[in-house]
């Protein structure tokens, strides 16, 4: 459960880190803009009633966009009004670091699938995460990462016949 962030205030708020209020307002503005964009695009598609074909393709999304923008507007007003209570930081440093510790390697992992194939990339990703984030011994990292991935390879490629992206290593091993 997320803790109720509106009741706690942090007087030592440092500059440079976004507060809850900034994030709330940012998302609200995004929603207004997104809603407007959707409506505008739907209007071009034909958001009006046609006697011949009934409601056009953009009819439903057009009103969805308008309603979303209105919601964004209401969220914006609420966030501005509650700003004194939303001074607390969106995320604390000691929380942001572990979040990035997993998120950045995840992006690298997904990127490396394009080159290494899914299975090799998985072993590298899991082993490195255990080593650098979990500070475990290298041999443990390699065993704990490769055994389950080999099992997954067998399960998906041999049993379920669901192909995952492959790299050069699988070909070299003749699998």
């Amino acid at each position: 459960m997320t803790p109720s962030h509106e009741t706690t205030t942090d007087p030592n708020r440092s500059i440079g880190q976004p507060s809850m209020a900034t994030m709330e307002i940012g998302v609200a503005v995004f929603l207004i803009g997104f809603g407007a964009l959707i409506s505008q695009d739907s209007w071009k598609l034909g958001a009006r009633w046609s006697e011949l074909r009934g409601p056009g393709a953009g009819y439903f999304p057009f009103y969805l966009g308008i309603a979303l923008a209105l919601c964004g507007f209401s969220i914006l007003i609420r966030a501005v009004r509650l700003r004194p209570k939303l001074r607390v930081r969106f995320i604390e440093w000691h929380q942001a670091v572990p979040v990035l510790t997993i998120f950045v390697p995840t992006i690298a992992f997904v990127g490396s699938i394009h080159f290494l194939g899914f299975y090799v990339a998985s072993i590298v990703f899991v082993a490195c995460f255990m080593r650098f984030a979990g500070r475990m011994a290298w041999w443990k990292c390699l065993t704990y990462s490769s055994l389950p991935v080999v099992f997954l390879f067998w399960l998906f490629e041999k049993r379920f016949l669901v192909p995952m992206p492959r790299g050069k290593v699988e070909a070299l091993l003749g699998l």
Partner: protein, 506 residues
């Protein structure tokens, strides 16, 4: 009487060794999914859904597939209680109320008693709702066969409106999340005219967003990012559960039959509405506290405080399948993903399901009886194992959950684009949770968006563009007005509460 014949056939289908094996597998996977942080019912089912596609092509395969997936659902419902009681960490939102008395009990060395009470309560709750489904579902489906597009639009409208009543987020955020889901659903080829919509020139967007990719990102990756905020430290613990404690607790539970019954009724009633399990667990806890003999002792380790929310949550979880089977409208996030599975296997959810797919429907209902019995035995037997599993460092579990999310997203369409999309949805899910936007209506809107739009457009075609079609018949008008009241209710009461309390917007 006709139903009983079908139910009997259903039992025969569900009891074949293959299906029974899938049941055991599903329950075990489900408990795992419910226990591990970062994996939950909707996400666990979503990751496995693409794998069931091959299964569904075999004769009778759709029944096997739904048995596997629904058992993951039951397992997750059971599993949520384990972490709540042992570690004060609710594995799922509906087990938050279980921590109030469950964790104090565990601290007093009564973890075995609390776990037995939670599992047995869950079992009784589910059984109650499954009985309800057996008797009510055919009747409701039969009634709904006469629904036209305006009535279906009314039912959809009521479904989404009830989110604003059960969600604890501000109304504007619930509405924004719902609308965002609808807009995502509209992307891609328009089902009526074939026009491309909202693709903004990107060819990859022609097929639209697959809800599975969204669910895996929103619930899976988003949840992992949120769990990581607590750092990598994750406390594991020991749990002992022997037969003597189980039988002793069962004997004690007879004295709490009133709490059990309250939980069943509240759960079954609330579960039909979306997001009901969470509200039901809290409500059952509050009712048990109010009607109990010593209300002030609640929160210090009363067994009723565990029985009530668990019974209600499981009862709600089961009754959430009632509208899914009869109307094609899921009552919970996981039910929504199951519904998506039905569509993927080529089944047409809705009232016709009961008429056309008798084997499937009754196989599922029969499996619900069996799997809850099996589930109770499995969880009672394996609690120490799952508790031990939590001693594995999070640094080992977290990357594997991400690998599972990537696999799940990729196998939907064998496309890396979906994996990147899943990452984006992960960020969205994380932001939504941090900023208190509810994810359940977003998911439901993404799944039901096209159907709701079809109902809307067909209704308007019939009425030549007049919105009054939704209010012209008594049934449609009742549904629409009930929906409007549900939407207006929190706005009215919220404003009044603020005037009296003078603070807060909730």
């Amino acid at each position: 009487m006709e139903s009983f014949t079908y139910l009997w056939h259903g039992f025969q289908t569900a009891l074949t060794p293959y299906n029974f094996g899938l049941m055991l597998l599903g329950i075990t996977l489900g408990v795992l999914v419910g226990v591990l942080p970062g994996l939950g019912g909707p996400n666990g089912v979503a990751i496995l859904l693409p794998l069931t596609y091959g299964m569904s092509l075999l004769p009778g395969g759709t029944t096997s597939a739904i048995i596997l997936l629904s058992c993951i659902y039951w397992g997750a419902l059971f599993g949520g209680a384990i972490t709540s009681i042992l570690f004060n960490i609710p594995g799922e939102a509906w087990s938050v109320a279980t921590t109030f008395d469950g964790y104090p009990m565990a601290q007093q060395g009564r973890a075995g008693e609390a776990l037995t009470a939670a599992f047995t309560g869950s079992f009784v709750g589910a059984l109650f709702s499954v009985l309800l489904i057996t008797f009510l579902a055919p009747v409701i489906a039969n009634f709904a066969l006469r629904f036209g597009p305006p009535a279906f639009f009314g039912v959809y409208f009521l479904t989404f409106a009830s989110f604003s009543g059960t969600s604890r987020s501000p109304f504007s955020k619930t509405a924004a999340a719902t609308l965002f889901g609808f807009i995502l659903a509209a992307v891609g080829m328009d089902t009526v005219s074939g026009t491309l919509r909202l693709t903004f020139g990107f060819e990859t967007m022609i097929g639209g967003f697959d809800f599975l990719v969204a669910v895996i990102g929103l619930f899976g990756l988003g949840e992992i990012l949120l769990s990581m905020e607590e750092g990598l430290a994750f406390r594991g613990g020991k749990a002992k559960l022997d037969l003597a404690i189980v039988f002793k607790t069962w004997r004690d539970m007879f004295r709490h039959w009133k709490t059990l019954l309250q939980g069943c009724l509240i759960g079954a009633w609330m579960g039909v509405k979306p997001g009901g399990a969470i509200a039901a667990s809290f409500m059952a806890y509050a009712v048990a506290k109010r009607t109990g003999k010593n209300p002030e002792e609640f929160g210090t380790g009363r067994i009723e405080g565990v029985i009530a929310p668990e019974t209600a949550a499981h009862s709600a979880g089961a009754s959430a399948l009632l509208p899914m089977l009869t109307l094609g409208i899921p009552g919970s996030g996981t039910a929504a993903v199951l519904l998506g599975g039905l569509m993927m296997w080529g089944l047409q959810p809705g009232p016709t399901l009961f008429a056309e797919q008798k084997e499937f429907v009754w196989g599922l209902i029969a499996s619900m009886y069996l799997s809850n019995v099996v589930g109770l035995i499995v969880v009672l037997a394996t609690v120490p194992l799952f508790a031990a599993l939590l001693r594995i460092p999070f640094a080992v579990i977290a990357p594997f959950i991400i690998v599972a999310c990537v696999m799940g997203a990729y196998t939907v369409h064998n496309s890396m684009f979906d994996v990147w999309l899943m990452l984006i949805f992960g960020i969205i899910g994380y932001l939504c949770k941090k900023l208190d936007y509810p994810l359940a209506p977003l998911t439901l809107a993404l799944i039901l968006g096209d159907k709701m739009e079809d109902a809307f457009r067909q209704s308007l075609l019939g009425s030549r563009g007049s919105l009054l079609v939704f209010f012209s018949q008594p049934l449609e008008a009742t549904l629409m007005i009930a929906g409007l009241i549900l939407i207006a209710w929190p706005l009215v009461t919220g404003r009044r509460r603020k005037r009296i309390g003078g603070e807060g917007d909730r």
